[in-house]
């Protein structure tokens, strides 16, 4: 919380700001466009959201933090809210230019994906993000089905960072109440 007060953490809560957008008073909206303006407009561009990201991450004078990180919790939700896949890809591209190249920071984005998914728009985003990403973490359940001691596996793939490094590493994990245990394949505590 202190990080938030110091301005180190800027948090945009989508659920809350969309309520403000839909049920908030008119005069509040007229002052500054809401980052989620695209929900109520027919032209679905994410410019307002990008502007919010840029103004939040641009260092202001003394309290500049080196190497900002942009965490996007669920790009797939943007599709559900009516943004077109091209708009989402444009948004992430602009963010890359600003955060990764101008401010020397990082972007972490979460996307849903499913092998037998019929959501073509979402798959388009997943595929093009895979193409642009430097590090991909795939988290999925075991192919053999549910297991009490191993809840799934993390595939850790690194792309374009060096020719011989493109091998994929797989770890299995087990989730407990408050933490997650990672281990090499076949080395779960139940087996050893």
């Amino acid at each position: 919380m202190s990080a938030k007060e110091r301005g180190q953490l800027v948090f945009l809560e989508g659920l809350k700001s969309c309520l403000d957008l839909l049920f908030g008073e008119e005069e509040k909206q007229s002052g500054q466009p809401s980052p989620l303006q695209f929900i109520s407009e027919s032209a679905s561009d994410l410019k307002a959201l990008f502007d919010f990201v840029r103004t939040s991450l641009t260092p202001t004078g003394s309290d500049s933090w080196k190497g900002p990180v942009l965490l996007v919790d669920d790009l797939s939700v943007l599709l559900s809210l009516g943004a077109t896949p091209v708009a989402v890809l444009d948004f992430i591209h602009y963010c890359r230019v600003t955060v990764c190249y101008q401010l020397k920071g990082n972007i972490v984005a979460l996307v849903h994906s499913n092998e037998d998914s019929e959501d073509e728009e979402n798959e388009l985003i997943v595929n093009s993000l895979c193409h642009h990403s430097d590090l991909i973490l795939w988290v999925e359940g075991l192919a053999t089905g549910f297991c009490k001691d191993v809840h799934g596996q993390v595939m850790h793939g690194r792309t374009r960072r060096g020719a011989e490094q493109d091998l994929v590493q797989i770890y299995q994990y087990k989730i407990q109440d408050k933490n997650v245990t990672f281990f090499a394949r076949g080395l779960s505590a139940a087996v050893l």
Partner: protein
């Protein structure tokens, strides 16, 4: 993997996971201590990290969101849930579950909000099942349990002694711990019970005539009316905690019937590339926001089998906390299948909420079936009926193996291929 790479991976994961508020992680038994949650700030290069499918499997997303929700209203620790029921083909059993949800609200003294485009909410409320008081319920169940218990005494097995010490599988998980109330579906609730509670209704044809014009925010107008109505009630009755002087805190139970059907003015059931493709998902997102900031829970039934574009259902699943699908056997070939002769349908639990924890409560069996007895609606673990015939093998064993294969994808070891074991 070289040591350097290993350290790099551990580093990456630990930073990532620290951000997502997990205290320690254990990779190859290397225990990492808690670092600053903002350790990701340095030496990471220009990397774009990207995680796929994380929501389903680890669901950091929900946990983080719920924690944030808790911080904003610390006084109440009741998490709000959006339950989503995929209707069975003829909507019989989903309606029953819908009424159960509302009836539980009446018995607990919660406020109700019923929205429908088909049936008038007043009629829905009139048809709620009557609660079974503790004594009556005991009598109902008592006969069954005593019958089972008397068998238990002569339990020393002579032939199948290997199975003697195996723990007993309870068909319905609710027998040991009592949770909620039980209802008699053959009777309707007495009107006196309604007098103690407050309820609101939303009947779409009436609402349309009340306010001819309103701002729709690029959404289907019926949905935005419903949202406005829910928001008004949440605000007026102080479910959002805006009246802290009001001491008595109550919960609002929202029930929305057959959302997404044609009657709501939505075309997702009639067209593969609908005009209002995003209306339903937008509605759910805003509703989620409303639920998150207030003390309320919501059940929605949706005719999932009518929705043409399957991508919508995937998105809807991601936007809800809990998704349950009902598959009734009426009119399907499973109705006559001997495997399912004791049941009326299957319950597919597709999503379970994780509340204030990283993990959800996962039961051992994933195959659940429901059955409507004379008075009770029960959900039980699916099991094969005992083979009591004198002949060695079942007549339709091949059929059974086939249908068991169809039954569950999670149970991979069972009935793979056409051959079955015969011993």
């Amino acid at each position: 993997m070289t040591t350097f790479e290993k350290h790099q991976l551990i580093d990456t994961l630990s930073k990532l996971i620290n951000i997502l508020r997990i205290k320690t992680i254990n990779i190859n038994t290397v225990l990492l201590n808690e670092q600053s949650p903002f350790a990701l700030n340095h030496d990471f290069g220009n990397q774009l990290i990207f995680m796929g499918n994380l929501i389903r499997e680890i669901s950091f997303y929900r946990v983080v969101k719920i924690q944030v929700g808790d911080l904003s209203n610390k006084k109440e620790k009741i998490p709000t849930i959006l339950v989503f029921t995929e209707e069975d083909k003829y909507g019989l059993y989903s309606n029953l579950l819908f009424k159960y949800f509302l009836a539980e609200g009446v018995v607990c003294g919660h406020d109700l909000f019923v929205a429908s485009a088909k049936e008038h909410p007043d009629n829905i409320l009139k048809e709620l099942p009557a609660p079974l008081l503790d004594d009556t319920y005991r009598n109902e169940r008592g006969e069954e349990t005593t019958a089972v218990k008397s068998e238990d005494f002569q339990d020393s097995m002579k032939i199948a002694w290997r199975y003697q010490n195996l723990p007993k599988v309870e068909a319905s998980p609710t027998t040991s711990t009592k949770f909620g109330h039980y209802y008699d579906v053959s009777k309707t609730m007495s009107p006196e019970l309604f007098q103690s509670i407050k309820w609101h209704s939303f009947y779409l044809p009436e609402e349309l005539s009340l306010q001819p014009k309103m701002k729709t925010h690029n959404m289907n107008s019926a949905y935005s009316r419903l949202l406005q109505s829910i928001q008004r009630i949440i605000y007026q009755d102080g479910f959002d905690g805006s009246h802290p002087q009001k001491k008595l805190k109550n919960i609002l139970r929202i029930g929305i019937q057959s959302l997404g059907s044609m009657l709501w003015g939505d075309d997702i059931c009639s067209s593969d590339s609908p005009e209002h493709m995003h209306s339903l998902t937008k509605f759910l997102y805003v509703l989620r926001g409303l639920l998150r900031k207030s003390l309320s829970a919501c059940i929605i039934t949706v005719p999932a089998h009518l929705i043409q574009n399957k991508a919508i259902m995937e998105r809807v699943t991601n936007l809800s906390d809990m998704v349950v699908g009902l598959e009734s056997f009426i009119g399907s070939e499973r109705e006559t299948n001997p495997l399912y002769k004791d049941y009326h349908g299957l319950v597919h639990v597709q999503q379970i909420p994780r509340l204030n924890s990283l993990i959800c409560d996962v039961s051992d069996t994933k195959d659940l079936a429901f059955r409507l007895k004379r008075k009770l609606f029960t959900i039980e673990r699916l099991h094969l009926p005992p083979d009591l015939s004198d002949t060695v093998s079942r007549t339709s064993k091949q059929d059974l193996a086939e249908s068991a294969k169809l039954l569950s994808s999670g149970c991979g070891a069972m009935a793979i291929g056409k051959k079955h074991l015969d011993f």
